[in-house]
Symmetry: D3
Subunit: 306 residues, 6 copies
C-alpha cells in the first residue's frame, strides 16, 4: 500500500504542475457560470419544442393550450440563454480584469432577447426545409416522420440556431451546438456557413460544410459530401490567416450526390448536378452535370485479394 | 424590464399563431400515448438483453436463472411494445375521429405478440451475423468483444428488429429504431430493406442501405458504402412516386469496400468484389472484381497547395 | 388472454433454450464485476477532467485548488480502473476455474497504477495535438474552443487512453473506450494503432485507422479517410490469421484529404500530400502529391437523371 | 453452487404459491394504469406550485409570466390527475369485468376537472392558514418562511387536496396523498376529516386527526395532539362497523397544547384551551381551560433510577 | 482572493488533522464494498415487491407471470444482500487484518441464502398483520389500501426483515433498515425486539419499541407509545452494560392507547387495555384496564395564558 | 372538449388573478438565484462528509487521501454556500430596489467563509455528542453505528450547522436546514436555540426545542419531549412580539424522559431527572426528580370500551 500511495502521489504532483497543464487548463472565477453541457442540451430541446410544437416535449398540445406552453418555454429559454451566453462570454475572455461579469450580463441579455425574436423566422425556414425533405424523399411517409425521425432536420435546426447566435456575437456556444448535432448525426455544418431555404440533406453521415461556405435555396446534398477548403494562406509566423473565404459557393437548386468532395472558394452554378465520389476544385458552370470519369473499369481474376 | 417583456410577449404571439406552426405541429389527444424516446430506448435495450443474454443487463445470468429473466424481460417488452406501437399508430392517423385508440389497441396487441414470437428467429439470424463478423475480422478477439463492442452488431440488431416491426404494419416506430442506430453508429439501414444472413459491416460509419435494397447471404460491406437510388420518377405534381424499387440488389457472398457508391435498381452478381471509392450505376456480373480506374496518378511538385 | 399467455410462454421457452443462445450468452459468477458502461463513461470523463483541468468538470478550478482536485480525481479514477479492468479480465476468461478473481485482482491493481503513472505523458502528447489542431484550422478561435468543442480531440484522447491500457495488457476495455469515441464522433481509431505526436483530424466523421497502422508525428487527416487492410491471409480452416501487419505506415508530416482510402501494409512517405477520394494500395515516395486522375470529366445534358 | 440454486429455487416455488400470496397480491391488467408514487408526488408538487406561485418550482415568476405558468401547470395537472384517478379507480375494483377502464375513464375525467375548478378555493383557505400561522408564531419571520419551511403548511395543503378528491369520490389516491404528508411531517390528518379555515399546527410531529373529526375555524393544535376514537361498535362478525362518527368535534378558536389525547365523538366547546398531555373522553364546555391534574408531584431522592 | 484562499486552506488543514477526526472517521480499504444507502433501499423495495406482489413494482403481475418475477426478484435480492451484508461485516471489523473480505464473503453468502429461505415465513406473518390491521380499523376500506398506504405495514415489514437479519448475525444493516422505516413513518422498532403475529400499529408516529421488548400475538398499539427502559446498570467504568433485558413484556391481545409510556422489564398481562398518556413502571395483571388518574381537572378563568 | 377547455381556462384566469395569490406568491428577478432544495441537501451532505469522513460519501478514504478530499469538499461547499446564502438573502428582501444582488454577494461570501472556518469547532462538538450517545445507549454497538444509523446525530448535525449560519446572519436557509432534519427524524430543533456539548436525544420522534431554549452540557432527552412556550405577549395589533425569551433553560446533566412537556421561560436545575409524560410550567430545583402523580389508577371491568 505504501508504494502504491507513493506512486499515486508522485503522479498527482506531476499532474498538478502548472507547467504541464498551462495550455490546456481553464481557470474559473467564483460566481461566473461555466458553460453547462446539460443546459445547452436543454436549450436545444426547448427550441425544438418551440419550433415543432407537440413533437418533442411530454406535453398535451392542443390549440387551446399552445400559447401557455409557448409562453413558458420562451420564458425558460430566455433564462437559460442568459446564463449560457454569459458563460460563453466569460469562457473566452481569459485575460480581462474585473467587471467582466457585469458588462457581459448586459450583452448576454441583449443577445438572448434578439435571438428569441428571431425564432419565428427560424421556424419559417425550417418549415421550408421539412417540406423540401418530404417532397424529395420517396421513403418519407409524412411530415411527422420527417420531423420526428430524420437526422437532417435535427442537424439543420441546430445549424440555424447556432448561426443566429453567431451573428449576434455569441462566442463558443454556437460551435458547441453545431458539434452536438455533428455527434448525433454525423453532419458537420459550421455555424458561420450561410445556407438558404428549402435545404435538404439525405442520410447525411459524413457531410461537412465549412465555415465560409455559401449555399443557395433548394439545395440538396447527400451523405459524405464535403464543402471544404483546399489550402489557406499563412501569416509570416506560419499560422493560418483566419476568416478568409476559402469554401465553395453552391447556387440555387444544386444537387450533390454521396461522397463528392468540393474544395476551395469555387462556385457550383445553379441547377447543376454533381455525381457521387467526385473531387472538384474549380468552378462549375450553371446547369452542369458532373460525374466520375468513365464510370469504372471492370476485370475478372481469381487472385486472392484486390 | 417593461420593454423586454413586451418583446418576449410579442414573440410568443407570433410563435402561437397557427399559421406559423400548422405544418410542423403535432396535436395530441388526452389519453393517447405519445411515442416516448425513453421507452423506445428501453425497448431496444430489453431486446438486446433478450437476444444476447448476460451482455447488456445488470444481471447475474446463470443457466439456472435464464428462464426467469427471459420471462420477465419478455413480459416487460410486451407491455412497452403495446404502448409504443399504439403511440405510433395514433401518431400517424391525424385525421381520424374517435375510437381510434380502441381500434388501434387491438391492432397493437396483435403486432406486439407477433413480434415477440419472431424473436427466436431474430436471434438465430444475429448469431449468424456475429459468427461472420468474428471470422471476417482479424482484429476480433472473441465473440464477446464482437457483441459487446462492435457498432455493426448494434446497427444490424436494430435493423432486424425494425424490419420485423415494419413487416407487421407498425408505423413510425421502425424508422425511429433505425435512426437510433444511425445516430449511435453512423450506419443508416432503412427498415424496409431486405437483408440475408451472415451479414457483416466493418467500421460502418457512413454506410447507407436504401429502403428497397435487397442483400443476399454472407455479404460484407465496409464504411462509407452507399446502396442508393439514382433518380426516381415523379407524379404529375412533381412529387416522387413512393415505393418503386430503386435501390441495388446485392447477391450472396459479395464484398464491397470502403466508400463505394452503388446507385439504382441494379444487381451486383454473387461472389463479386467491389473496390473502394467506386461509383457504380449498372449491373455487375457474378464473380466480378471492380476497382477505380488506373489506381492513381502521382506527381511531384513544390507548389503550396494541391 | 389464455392464448396470448400461451404464445408468450412458448416464446420464452424457445428463448431459454441453451441451444439457441449458447454462442451469444455471457455467463456471470456471483461476486465478479461486470463491465459497466456507466462506469466506463465515468472513467473517460474523469480522465478528461484530469488532463484538461477546468474544462469538463463542474469545478471551480483555481491554482490554489488544482492539487486537491487532481488528488481526488486520481483517487476515484484508481478505484474505478481497478474495478473495470478486473471486470474486463473476468469477461474474457470464460473457461478458467476458481481463483480467477483473486489472481486478476492483483493484475488489475498493477495495470491501474501503471496507467495512472502514464497520465502526465498522455497529457503532454495531447497538448501537442491541441496546439497542432489550433494552428492548422483557420476556423479555430482559441485553444479553449478546440478542447471544449472539437470531436477530434475527444477521439484522440480516447485513443491515447485506450492504447495505453492495451499496452498494459488490459482486455476488452480499450476497445470499448475506442468505440465510445467512434459512436460520439464517427472517428474509428483501433486502440492497437501507433500514433505519434501533434496528430490532427479535421471534421473526422468516417475516419478509420486500422489496428496495425503506424502514424508518425505531425500528421493531419480529414474526414472519411481510411487506413485499412487490403486482404489478409487465412489459416487452413479459412479463419483470418490474427495480428499480422496489414495496415499502412504513414510517415511524419503527411496530410491526407477527405475520403482517401489507403489499404495494406504500404508506406506513405514523409511530407506527402494525399488528395481526397483517392484509392491507394502501393507505397508512396516521400514528398509526393497524389490526386485523383484527371480531376473530373464534365458534360452537359438535359437528361432526367445522371 | 448446486445446493445454493436448489435452495433458491425452492424458495421461489414457495413464494410463487398462490396460497401464500393470495391476500396480499394485486393483480394488474394490461393497459390499465397502476398508481404511480412518482406521479402522485409530481401531482402534489404541481399543486403546491400552482397554489404558492414562485415558491417551489424552478421558475422565474413575474406578473407578466404568471398566467403562462398557471396555464401549463394546470394542463399538466389535468393530465396527471386523469391518469392517477383512473389508476385509483381500477385499483379498487378487483372483481369487475371488462369495460371498467372505459367507464372509469369518464368518471376520472369528471373528477379531475371538478378538482381543478376547486383549486382557487383551496388557495383561499390556505392563505387563511398561512396568515394564521404567521400571526400565531413569534418565531416566524415572514410569510415566505412559513410557506417555504413549515411542515404544517405542507401537511394542511395535502389534507385540503386529499379532502377534495375524497369528496369527489376518488378512491385510494386521497389516502395516499395524506400519508405522503404524514411521512414527511409526522402529521397524520385523515382526508375525510372536516377542517375549517385559519387552521394552524405548531411543530406538528405526532398529530393525529381521525377520519370523522370536525374542526372549526381558527383552531390551533400543537405537536402530539390526538383527535381519536375511543372504541367502536363491531358487527355480528366482530368487524368494526365502518363510517360511524367516532372522533371529536372541535369548535372555533380552540387551542390544544402538545400531547393532548382527545378521544370519541365529544365536543370541545368554542374558545377553549386544552393543556398539554391531558386525556379527554367527554365533552368540554365553551370557553374552558383544561390542564393536567395538580401539575406535578416533585420529590427528591438519591436513588439511581426513577 | 488571497486572504480567502488562505483562510480556506487553513481550515482544510484543521479538518485534515487526524486528531480532529480520529473518532468519527471510517477508513476504507480498496476493493471492500461500503454500505450503500441506495442499495439498502433497493433491497427493501425488492423485498416488499416479493412479499406483496403487484403493489410496489412497476410490473404487470398476473398468475401466469408471478413465478418469473419472483425468480428475478429473488435472484437480484440475493446478489444485493451478498454485497450489503459483506459491506456491513467489513464496516464493523475495523481492527482485523487481511483476509477479512474472503472470510466474510462466505459468511455473507450463508446469511443471504438463509434470509431468503425465511421470506415465505415473513410473508405469512405479514399477512396476519395486514388482516389484523384491516379488521381493527374502521377507516380501512380494503386490504389493498392497508398494504399500499399504511405506514404501520411499512414499519412492521422493515422490522420483520431487520429482525431476521439480526438473528442471522448480520451487523449494522438491520439497524439501518429499522431506521429507514423510522425516518419514513416515525415508528422506531429496534430490530432485536421480539414481536408476535397479527401485530398492529395505528397512526404510529412516535412509537418506540426498545431492543429487549417482547410482544405477544394480536397486540395493538397507537401513536406515541413507548416500550422503553427505566434505567440500566453500568459497569465499573460507568458504561452501560449491554444486552441486559430492560424493556417490557407485552402479552397477547393487549391494546395500548396513544402516548402511553411503559418502562422497564415489566409485564403487561394478556388481554389488558392501557389508556393513553399513562406512565407505567410496574407489572400489570392480565385483563387489566389502566387509565390516567381522575380524567382531568377543569377550571374556568379569564387569564391570558395557561 | 369545448366545455372542458372552457372550465380549465376559467380556472386558470382565477388562479392568475393577483388578488388571489398576492400573499402567497414569491416574485423572482432574472439572474437572482432561488433557494434550491436540491442544493441545500447537497450542502448538508457535503458537511456531513467533511465532519464524519468516510461515512457518507462514496469515497475511498485513507489517511493518504483525506486532505485531498477535504480540499475538494470544502471548495465545493464554499461555492454552494455562496449561492444558497445569496439566494436566502434575496428571498427575504422583497421590497429593495436594485443592487441588492451585488451588495448581498459580498455579504454571502463573508458568511460562507466564516461558516467554513467554524467547521472544526462543529466537528469537535459533534464528537462529544457521538461519544455521549454511545456511552448512554446500551443498544449502541460502536461509534460507527451511532454515526451511520442514529437519527439524533443527523438532527444535531443539522442543528449545529443551522445555528452557526443563523449566528452569521443568514436568513431562511438555517430554518430550512432544521426542517430537513425535522422531516427526516421527527426531531424539531429551532436553529436559534442554544445547546451545549455532549447532547443526546434517544429515539427522538416528536422532540421539540423552541427558539429561545437554552440547554447546558451533557443533557439527554427522549422522544416526544417538548421545550415549548406557554403563552406570549402580543403587541397592540394583536401580533405576537417576536424574540422574547419564552422557552425553558435546561441546565447541565439533566435527563428528560419521553413525552414530557416543559413550557415557558423556566429553569430545570442541573442534574435533575424529569419523568415521562409530565407537564411542567414552573422552575425545577437542581437535583430534582419529577414524575407523574400517583403512578396510575388501575381497575377491572368488562365494559366494551375505556
Amino acid at each position: 500500500m505504501k508504494e502504491l500511495d507513493f506512486r499515486i502521489n508522485n503522479t498527482i504532483e506531476k499532474l498538478s504542475d502548472p507547467e504541464s497543464y498551462n495550455v490546456v487548463c481553464h481557470e474559473h472565477r467564483l460566481g461566473e457560470p461555466l458553460p453547462s453541457i446539460v443546459k445547452l442540451n436543454k436549450i436545444v430541446d426547448l427550441i425544438r419544442e418551440i419550433l415543432f410544437p407537440g413533437y418533442f416535449g411530454n406535453t398535451s398540445l392542443r390549440p387551446e393550450t399552445t400559447k401557455h406552453y409557448m409562453g413558458v418555454y420562451v420564458d425558460e429559454l430566455n433564462e437559460l440563454l442568459n446564463e449560457e451566453i454569459l458563460a460563453g462570454m466569460c469562457f473566452e475572455c481569459d485575460n480581462e480584469k474585473n467587471n467582466r461579469v457585469k458588462k457581459n450580463t448586459t450583452k448576454a441579455k441583449k443577445a438572448a432577447i434578439e435571438f428569441i425574436e428571431y425564432l419565428p423566422e427560424i421556424r419559417r425556414k425550417l418549415v421550408s426545409d421539412v417540406k423540401a425533405t418530404y417532397v424529395g424523399d420517396p421513403a418519407a411517409r409524412n411530415f411527422g416522420e420527417v420531423i420526428f425521425c430524420y437526422p437532417s432536420i435535427r442537424a439543420i435546426t441546430n445549424y440555424r440556431v447556432a448561426h443566429r447566435l453567431l451573428e449576434l456575437g455569441v462566442p463558443l456556444i454556437p460551435r458547441f451546438i453545431s458539434e452536438m448535432a455533428h455527434g448525433e448525426t454525423g453532419i458537420d455544418i459550421h455555424p458561420k456557413a450561410k445556407i438558404g431555404e428549402s435545404f435538404t440533406i439525405d442520410h447525411g453521415t459524413g457531410v461537412v460544410v465549412g465555415s465560409t461556405s455559401i449555399i443557395g435555396n433548394n439545395v440538396k446534398i447527400y451523405q459524405g459530401v464535403t464543402l471544404g477548403a483546399k489550402s489557406f494562406p499563412t501569416d509570416i509566423d506560419g499560422n493560418p490567416i483566419k476568416g478568409i473565404p476559402r469554401h465553395p459557393i453552391v447556387e440555387d437548386n444544386v444537387v450533390i450526390y454521396a461522397g463528392a468532395t468540393i474544395l476551395g472558394r469555387i462556385t457550383i452554378g445553379a441547377n447543376s448536378i454533381i455525381g457521387g465520389n467526385v473531387w472538384i476544385t474549380r468552378d462549375i458552370e450553371k446547369n452542369s452535370r458532373v460525374v466520375q470519369t468513365k464510370p469504372n473499369d471492370r476485370f475478372f481474376s481469381d487472385g486472392a485479394g484486390i
